[in-house]
Symmetry: C2
Subunit: 124 residues, 2 copies
């Protein structure tokens, strides 16, 4: 999956990928700070994301690249891309057109609150 | 890794894990919206996170659980936990004590901005 990518060699040298050549990519709405979704990228998806202005992911189920919004119109315009300290995760700040989630929800985390036993703050 | 967890069976039935029994967990500061880090969880880590008020991860390199802050003091207090639409990723809203990153930075994404070719907005 990593082969034949035009990704900047310096970035490629830093990246740490899983055994499938992939790493998680967190998409965050750049102004509101909402976490929209988590997808996966390989080198080529990151290259496309860095150079085309739109976020491209790698689908683990379909084993192919997909550019967010090509089918749905729900494009993610790239504002900023950051690697984490271990270079094994990417944070992509985007401007999301319409819904991030295929369910129609604004984010992929809108419906899934789990019961937390006594949410905590620092003890007083 | 998933065996012998006391995780709520309804949540366990929804969760989709990778071949190692793991799923990504995005930690976000609950008030500022900053994405702090991405870690990994298994069922037991999620169970601990949901029931103890502090975020617990599973370390892929050490192959063991770790409760954020036990060594560093940089505790993550759990405010809210959400599953995504595919039930294969968790978003944990936390109150981070001190630095999220082992480098001392507030977040694990503070130092890794990549060059984006002409960051895009919707064409005008």
């Amino acid at each position: 999956m990593c082969s034949a990518s035009a990704l900047d060699p310096e970035i490629a040298a830093r990246l740490k990928r899983d055994e499938h050549g992939l790493f998680p990519a967190v998409a965050q709405q750049y102004d509101s700070g909402h976490v929209l979704m988590v997808g996966w990228m390989d080198d080529e998806a990151l290259h496309q994301t860095l150079t085309t202005g739109r976020v491209t992911y790698f689908s683990r189920s379909r084993q192919s690249h997909w550019r967010k919004g090509d089918t749905s119109g729900h494009v993610q315009w790239v504002k900023e891309v950051r690697l984490d300290c271990d270079s094994d995760t990417v944070l992509v700040k985007v401007d999301q057109v319409g819904s991030a989630c295929h369910t129609g929800a604004r984010t992929c985390f809108d419906d899934g609150a789990l019961v937390v036993k006594e949410p905590q703050g620092e003890p007083t």
